[in-house]
């Protein structure tokens, strides 16, 4: 059984801690069962399921640290792992940035485990694939999709009294539907903790509609356009920005949050005042882990408030050096939105481009957070509040910082890749060339 209860996990961790001869020891115990099914050309190509249970021991002498991992749980193996971590630590050079382990912590309760997801079996996966392939076959469309489900737990403990335990489940589904002549392509993606919220049929229906309506796209001149980024499109750029909010890089002057003349842009208004981004491990739509990898509690944190940078993430070393609270990076973020649906945003647009998905996004300039990438799987021209016709895909070169200053409207957030992201209407989004890709 790969998912141990809190008591079972604590028993093993305590046993491992008792073997320690080091100054400090921390133990991580993780287990999961993960399964997947993949299909293409309307046929299942691969499917599998694996279970894993592994224990990781980090031993520390002074500022020397060593880690050892094992997936056998008899007493002799556990003790051997502790001894091995200690040997590695003794051989390691001093880490001048080492910070002593945390003592006992208070963690919030999160609701990240769903029984329905944990119960997924090969039959469920085959049915999920069938529900997606079958409607495509009936309409002479070609489906390629992937579903992955995971149920697991994560526990950690150390000899300073820290103990944490969390169970979590997740299911991720994505589907690309192409027309038989290859001239149209549509996409949809869904992710949940609770698989009872997932309908592969309804997600596939969205991708089918996009495939059918995107065929034979017209070419528009590249340039600056008003765009509506669906959450599936906007999330990637926003996620890249959120991952760049590390305080040390900003303090060192090598981040978009570094300031001319030194210092950081913490407290500066960097975005449109309607931009509010926070994280909350207890959010019911995107429940996350109650603790970070090094045992720090995850709490509700405001990252951007009314367009002002309110917080940056810190390593424990850097926070100690700067004398501030060591806020860990969040697992997901919530971009506060309004009440308008995607359809409402389209209705309110005189001229613009609807973007389903962005693809192959890569950093061009870390100084300005400039990214390049392309639209994909459903790009449409909007006129007088209506989708008029499909357009050929564009390459963009744009910074999320500039984008969030050119904000026209924010819709109602939905879950996308573990975050809550609204559809965003942006003016002057920069498309630099056309792509022939479908």
């Amino acid at each position: 059984m790969a998912i141990l209860s809190k008591e079972e996990a604590k028993k093993i961790i305590d046993k491992v801690l008792a073997f320690s001869k080091a100054d400090e020891i921390s133990v991580g115990l993780d287990g999961n069962r993960t399964g997947n099914i993949r299909y293409a050309r309307n046929s299942v190509s691969t499917s599998g399921e694996t279970t894993d249970l592994s224990l990781s021991v980090t031993s520390v002498f002074g500022k020397k640290s060593g880690t050892s991992t094992i997936n056998e749980f008899d007493d002799a193996s556990l003790e051997k792992t502790v001894r091995r971590a200690e040997e590695i630590a003794k051989l390691a050079p001093d880490n001048p940035e080492y910070v002593p382990m945390l003592g006992p912590q208070q963690y919030v309760d999160t609701n990240s485990f769903a029984e329905a997801t944990a119960a997924i079996n090969p039959d469920y996966r085959a049915k999920a694939a069938f529900d997606s392939i079958d409607p495509c076959v009936k309409k002479n469309l070609t489906a390629a999709g992937y579903m992955e489900d995971t149920a697991g737990f994560s526990a950690m403990g150390n000899n300073k009294g820290l103990f944490g335990y969390n169970k979590a489940t997740s299911v991720d589904f994505s589907i690309t539907v192409r027309t038989a002549d290859g001239k149209g392509s549509g996409y949809a993606a869904r992710d949940y903790n609770d698989s009872s919220k997932l309908s592969t049929a309804s997600a596939t229906e969205v991708a089918m509609q996009k495939a059918l309506s995107s065929a034979s796209a017209k070419a528009l001149e590249p340039g600056k356009y008003t765009v509506i980024l669906e959450p599936t499109a906007g999330v990637d750029l926003l996620q890249n920005m959120m991952r760049s909010m590390d305080a040390r890089n900003a303090d060192e002057g090598r981040s978009f949050l570094g300031k001319k003349g030194g210092g950081t842009r913490l407290g500066e208004k960097l975005f449109d005042e309607r931009v509010n981004i926070y994280s909350d491990p207890q959010n019911l739509e995107i429940p996350g882990s109650p603790f970070s990898g090094d045992g720090r509690p995850q709490e509700k944190v405001m990252w951007v408030e009314n367009g002002v940078v309110k917080n940056m993430s810190y390593s424990r070393f850097w926070a100690q050096k700067q004398g501030v609270k060591a806020i860990p990076s969040p697992s997901g973020f919530i971009f506060q939105g309004g009440t308008e649906s995607l359809a409402d945003l389209i209705k309110g647009t005189e001229k613009g481009i609807l973007v389903t998905r962005l693809w192959y996004i890569r950093a061009v300039d870390p100084q300005t957070l400039l990214y390049t990438g392309l639209t994909r799987d459903g790009t449409f021209y909007i006129e007088n509040g209506q989708i008029k016709y499909p357009v050929k895909n564009f390459r963009f070169n744009e910074s999320p910082v500039i984008m969030l200053n050119n904000l026209e409207a924010i819709g109602k957030p939905v879950r996308a890749s573990g975050n809550l992201v609204p559809p965003l209407k942006i003016r002057d989004f920069t498309f630099t060339s056309l792509s022939d890709a479908v």
Binding site: N36, R38, A40, R41, S43, V44, S45, T46, S47, G48, S54, G66, T67, T69, N71, R84, E87, I88, L91, A92, P93, N95, P96, E97, P122, A144, G145, Y146, E148, S174, T176, R178, G182, G253, R254, F256, G258, G261, G262, W359, Y360, R362, A363, V364, D365, Q367, T368, T372, L374, R376, R395, N397, S399, I402, T432, S433, L434, S435, D436, A437
Partner: protein
Amino acid sequence: MMPAFAMGRNVSPEAFFEKSVDVAVKKRLADAALNAAKSKGASYADVRIGRYLNQFVTTREDKVQNIVNTESYGVGVRVIANGCWGFAAVVDASNEAQVAKAAEDAVAIAKANAKLMKEPVQLAPQKGFGEVSWKAPIKKNAFEVPIKEKVDLLLSVNDAALKNGANYVNSVLFLVNEQKYFASTDGSYIDQDVHRIWPIFNVTAIDPKSGKFETRNALSAPMGMGYDYLQSNPSDKLTGVTTRYNKGYDMLEDATAAARQAKEKLTAKSVEAGKYDLILDPSHLWLTIHESVGHPLELDRVLGYEANFAGTSFATLDKWKSKNFQYGSKQVNLIADKLQEGSLGAVGWDDEGVNTKKWDLVKDGVLVNYQAIRDQAHIIGEKESHGCCYADSWSSVQFQRMPNVSLAAGKTPLSVDEMIKDVKKGIYIIGDGSFSIDQQRYNFQFGGQLFYEIKDGKIAGMLKDVAYQSNTQEFWNSCTQVCDEKDYRLGGSFFDGKGQPSQSSAVSHGSSTTRFNGVNVINTARKI
């Protein structure tokens, strides 16, 4: 695509010296799996017994940040039953019963999935090779070099960068050793020992007054070599506007140059957007080859098996069948090669027991072939696999992966200086940078590490904010000159990603410096 790296369990460096499982034991385990598969009704089976070792030494400035040693050992069994593939794997397998169970599971999965299969797997015939072995031709096993020597090297590299004007520097040494045993019902028992090394760094120079910063990455290449790659000889160096390296890398020298160049970039001229003739160094061009030639000619992509993730390909079967699809100009000869010494893709046999080879993909500019494995060969009318099947772990299913794909050197003697002399308005680009390409591999954009303006046949100074955009066919047809073999070098990556769940593969791409005329260059500077 460059995803995260497959890892194993953490071990002490001493574990690397522990001998792998004896070949006789591996054969016994393999036979147990093959027999179990056959007895359950498999028409074909193969077994991969793998021990994967990794070492990463990570530093910044005067500090060692991390030393990670990992080992992963297990057995993967792949079968065909009822015309369908099935796969199962078992960690730390030490006895026949464990691997036989995995084989039985693989057959059960194949039979279950066979119900959803549209047409049965057609496997190109492959003769068995009996008991054979292959070893990477390394001179010095990097895993046997003491950690202290590696740490000292990286810290001296960092020191050199800091002394020459860098404000920050990170350096890393990646080492990989794949000890792979393959056996199949075709009668092959293949033992292979693969080594890879990749030393890298990144230096940052900051101008606090303006708040601007610039970086420069190492001009090293990941290689299928041992620690000998870090023992550079003068003959491995190509001097010029900056020193570039062939089969031996002088990390200290490159870090010194990098720090000076990162500083120089702070005040370099911002490029004026427009059309330029591009002179692309092999340290840059490898990535353009990878994205615009390597990926579009993967047959599984062409057929639609990657449609939901990496995408499909513009290089469709009808273009190949026409025998006149002009992928590039006449100067363009692109070759797939799993034999090239020192490359990341070189092995004796691939992960389905096919002996490796070399074949043309684009000949005199015309598309002539794809990359295909055993269950794909019949689709392009070939009688045997190209030998480019790979799995990144014993626990991953093997599938078609990119071999080394390289641009052949020019046949006429031509040096870089001679090439530049003829350019009126151009940019010389060295090192790889930002990269992005669409899902059918038409439209791409690439950055770089170093950009030099060429005016009337001479280098006129450093540029910054440069990226070029083009379309694959247009770009390769704008190729007018390729330097000769004296300039030929390899670039590559450990992290080519493909598949769901994603797998990593290491691949090299060789070329000589090459000229492309009239390519669209954009200026990437922005204000926030």
